[in-house]
Symmetry: D2
Subunit: 265 residues, 4 copies
C-alpha cells in the first residue's frame, strides 16, 4: 500500500504500451522484460528507496491507470507508439485532469503523438522522422537546467538513433534544454518542458524501440532528473503531505463559483 510509504517517497508510474516488445523480435532482444523494466531499474538504481515505481500497460483494465493509481502517482512516464488510438478517451481525460492538479508527466520518444501529450500541448505535435540508424548528438542548450545536472560534457552521442527532426509542432517550450544534431542533416528540440495547470510536463525525444537507447547511462540520468524535476513541489493551499488534491472529481468547464465576495475593506 502506498499509504505505508515514507512521506517523502517519490511515487512514479511508468506507462508502457508494451506491444513491440512482445511482437517484434528485434525489440524483444533489447527489452526482454519491456522498455518499462529498464527504465524502472534505472530509477531504482538512481533513487533507491526514495522511489516507488509502479508499472501500467495498455492491456490492463483501465490501461492500469485507475483513479486509485493516479491518486498515488507523483510522476507519470509515458511510452507509446503503435496504439495511440487504442487509449480510451476517458482515461486520457483522467490523466489530463491529474496533470492539471499537479502530477508530473514525462513523455518519452514516440509519445509525442499520444492523445494525452497532444491534449496537453494543444497542437498536432507532428514532426519529421527517418529510420536510418544514424548518429544523434544531443547538445545541452541550458547548462544550468536541473534536468541536465550530472552530465559530464556539453553533449553526448547515440551511435544509432531514429531521426526526429524539425519542424516539431509544439507550443514554444517554456524551457528548452536539449537540441539534437543528426548525421543526416536535421536538428530537433529533444529536451523541452512546460507547465500545465499545477503540473509539469517534460518531453525527451531519444528512445526508439529498436535501439538500446534506454540502456544508455546519459539517457537514464536525464530520465531520472526529469522525474525529480516534474515531481510536485507541494504547491499552495493543497493541504499537508504529498496528496496533491483530496479528490479526483472531474473538472467542470463552467466557472468556479466565487462564494466569498472578499472585497477589500
Amino acid at each position: 500500500m502506498a499509504s505505508a510509504l515514507p512521506p517523502e517517497t517519490l511515487r512514479v508510474t511508468i506507462w508502457n504500451e508494451f506491444i513491440h516488445e512482445q511482437t517484434v523480435d528485434q525489440v524483444r532482444q533489447i527489452y526482454p522484460s519491456g522498455i518499462h523494466a529498464v527504465i524502472a531499474a534505472a530509477l531504482e538504481a538512481k533513487f533507491g528507496t526514495e522511489v516507488c515505481v509502479r508499472i501500467a500497460t495498455l492491456a490492463e483494465p483501465e490501461h492500469g491507470l485507475t483513479y486509485a493509481v493516479l491518486a498515488e502517482t507523483d510522476v507519470l512516464l509515458w511510452w507509446g507508439h503503435a496504439a495511440h488510438d487504442r487509449v480510451e478517451d476517458d482515461i486520457v481525460q483522467r490523466v489530463h485532469e491529474r496533470v492539471l492538479q499537479g502530477m508530473g508527466f514525462v513523455a518519452l520518444h514516440s509519445a509525442h503523438a499520444s492523445k494525452i501529450f497532444r491534449r496537453l500541448m494543444g497542437t498536432s505535435c507532428m514532426l519529421r522522422w527517418r529510420e536510418a540508424a544514424e548518429k544523434e548528438r544531443v547538445w545541452v542548450i541550458d547548462p544550468g537546467h536541473p534536468i541536465v545536472s550530472g552530465l559530464r560534457d556539453e553533449w553526448f552521442e547515440l551511435p544509432n538513433s531514429e531521426m526526429y527532426g524539425e519542424h516539431f509542432d509544439i507550443p514554444a517550450p517554456e524551457e528548452l534544454f536539449l537540441v539534437s544534431w543528426f548525421e543526416g542533416g536535421e536538428v530537433f528540440r529533444s529536451g523541452c518542458a512546460w507547465r500545465r495547470g499545477k503540473g509539469r510536463v517534460v518531453y525527451l525525444s531519444p528512445g526508439h524501440e529498436t535501439f538500446p537507447i534506454y540502456h544508455n547511462p546519459n539517457m537514464q540520468l536525464l530520465i531520472a532528473n526529469a522525474v525529480r524535476y516534474a515531481a510536485p513541489t507541494g504547491g499552495m493551499y493543497l493541504g499537508q503531505g504529498r496528496n496533491i488534491v483530496p479528490s479526483l472529481s472531474p473538472i467542470s468547464a463552467t466557472h468556479v463559483v466565487d462564494e466569498n465576495l472578499h472585497r477589500a475593506k
Copy 2:
C-alpha cells in the same frame, strides 16, 4: 465571393453564440443586433475597405463555420457563454486544425471556457468570477506590444464590469500585455497571446454581455489591434497570396513521412 477581394483584404469572421441578445432584455438593449454587430461595425470603422467581415452563429448549419468559410478566414473572433457544450466537436476540430495552419484566433471574454480555446490551451481555463458591476481598471504591462498601440494612457477604466480573477488556469502567456485591477480586490491577466502551430491566439477578457463594454472605444481599439496582430503573415513555403494552405484535409496523428532523405553531402 471572397475570391474577388483585393489580395490584401483582411478577412475576419466573427463567431457569436448569439443567445443572450435574443433571450435577455438587458442584453438586447445593449446589443440589439448582437454583440457581433457592434464588433463588426468597430472593425469596419477602423479598417474601412481593408477588412471584410463575416458573421457566423451557433444556430446556423455547421455553426456557420463550413470548410469554405474557414478557408476564407484570416482571423476568427469567438464569443460564447451559455452554450459552449452545444458546439459540435467536429467543428471544434475543424477550427483547431485551421488555427494550426495559420488562421488567427481571438477569444473574447467568456470564450475562455469554450471548447476550442481550452483545446488550444491544453488546460482547464477556469477562473474566479463575480458579477457586481464593479470598476475594472485595465493596465498596460507591455507598452511596446502592437495590441496596445494607440491607447492614450497606461490604463483605462470600465466603470461596470464582471470580475474575472486569478488564478486563471492557462499556460503561461507567451506575451502578456494587459493586467486588470478590480475594485473588489482581484487581479487578472486580461490580455494574453500565444502561438499554436502557425497560428496566433489572443485572449481579451473584458466583455460581459450585460455591460456595454464592446461600445467602449478602448476595447474596440484593442480588438482591432488584436485582429491585425493575429492575421497570418504569409508564413513560409505556403505559396503566394493569402491562402494559408491549399486544402483543409484533417491533420493525421501519425508521423509525417519524410520522403526525401536529404542527407547532407
Copy 3:
C-alpha cells in the same frame, strides 16, 4: 570555514545596504539589527542547520563581497535603496559573473533599481511608486510554482505597503508567480523569475523599510522558497560537489576557442 560545512549545506549571503536602519528612527524601530538580521533569522528558523547565512554590507571593504565570499555563496540576496550608485562597478561585475556561473540571486524590493539587477535584466527596471501605507493584496498566479509552496490561500494581504506599480520595465518574466493588487488602483508583477547563464534570478517586490513586511510570515516563506529555488542544482560538467566553478577568473568578451574540432565521423 565553509569547507568544514556538510556538503549539502545551503550557503546564503544576505547583502544589505544597511543605511536606513542606522539613520532613520522609524526604520530602526522595525529593524533594530538591520533588515538582514530579520531575514537571516527567518531562513535559519526555516532551514535550521541546512543553511549557513553570511551577512555583507555596503560599508565593508569590497562591500563584503570578496571573491572568496562569492566563491562560497550559493544564493545571494540583495537589499538596497539609498545608495545604489555607491556600489562599485567592479563588485557589480564580479557578482554578475558569479550569477552567470550559477549562483542564485534574489533581488528584494528596491533592489529593482540596483546596478546588478539592471545589468542582469538589460532594461531600466523603472516602475511607478507611491508611499501611502496602503493595502497590498498579493495574488498567486502560478499555484504550482515552488516559490509559493506552503502558502495557505490564493492571496495574502499586507495592510500597509509602499505601492510599486506597472509599467515595470523588465524583460518578460520567464516565470511570473505573483501579481499584486493595490488599494489605490494599481497592479504589479511582484514575484518573477529569470535564468541568466547558469544562475537563477528572482525578484520579490514587497519589502519597504518603513513597514514591518519582512516580519510577515508569508513573506518569510516566499523568501525561503526563493532561496531554495535559486540554489544551483549542480549543473553539468562542473565537477562534483557544490563548487559551481573552480575559479572566478573574469569572463572574456572574446570567443571561446574551440580546441577540439570534434567533427562527427
Copy 4:
C-alpha cells in the same frame, strides 16, 4: 532631411565596424564597398521607397550615432567583430536607451559579442566557434514567425560558413525561429528575438566576413523581414506619428515619481 520623408517610411541605420573590408583582401573582394553596402542594397531592393537607409561606422565622430541620427532611426542593424572594445561606452548607453524607448535592434553574426548586445541581454553571450568553411543548414523552427515569411522551404544551406555552436550564453529567446545544423557536429540557435523595454531585439547568426553570406537571397530575405519585424508599432501614449519619444534625455535609475495619486473612487 528625414522630416521630409513620407510618414510611413521605415528609417533604417546600418552600423558597421567597417574594418575587415579595408584591411583584409579576402573580405574586400567579397564586400568591396563594405558589408553595409550589400545589406543596404538588399533592403532597398526589397522595400523600395518605403525604406530610407543610413550608414554609420566606427571611425565616424560618435561612431556615426549622434542623438539626431538615433532620433530618426526606427531600426538599427549592427555588425562588429574586431573592435568591440573601441565602441565608446556613452554611445552604447545612448543606443541602449533608444532601444528601451522603442527602436528596433538587429544584431548580426559576431555582434553577439558587442557591448550593446551583451548589455541588452544581461549575459556573456559567449559561444563555441570554428572556422572551417563547413556547411551550415539553417532550419525553420517556427514556420509561422514573420521573420521566416517568404522562405520557400523548411531549411536552406550555406555551403561555407563559420561554425557558431552551443552553448550560446543568452537569456532564453522569447521567440526562437531558426536553429542551425553544422557539418562538423554542432547546433546553434541562429534566429532569436527578445523584447527590451518598448524595443524589439533580433539576432541572426550567419554572416561571417570571409564568406559571401550577405549575398545569399535567403539571408537577405531574413534581414529584411527582421527589420520590418523590429520596427516600432507606434506603441501607446507616445504621441502621433513615428516619433517614438519626443526627447532622448537619459533614463534615470531613480524611481518615476507618480504625481497623480489616481486612487480608485
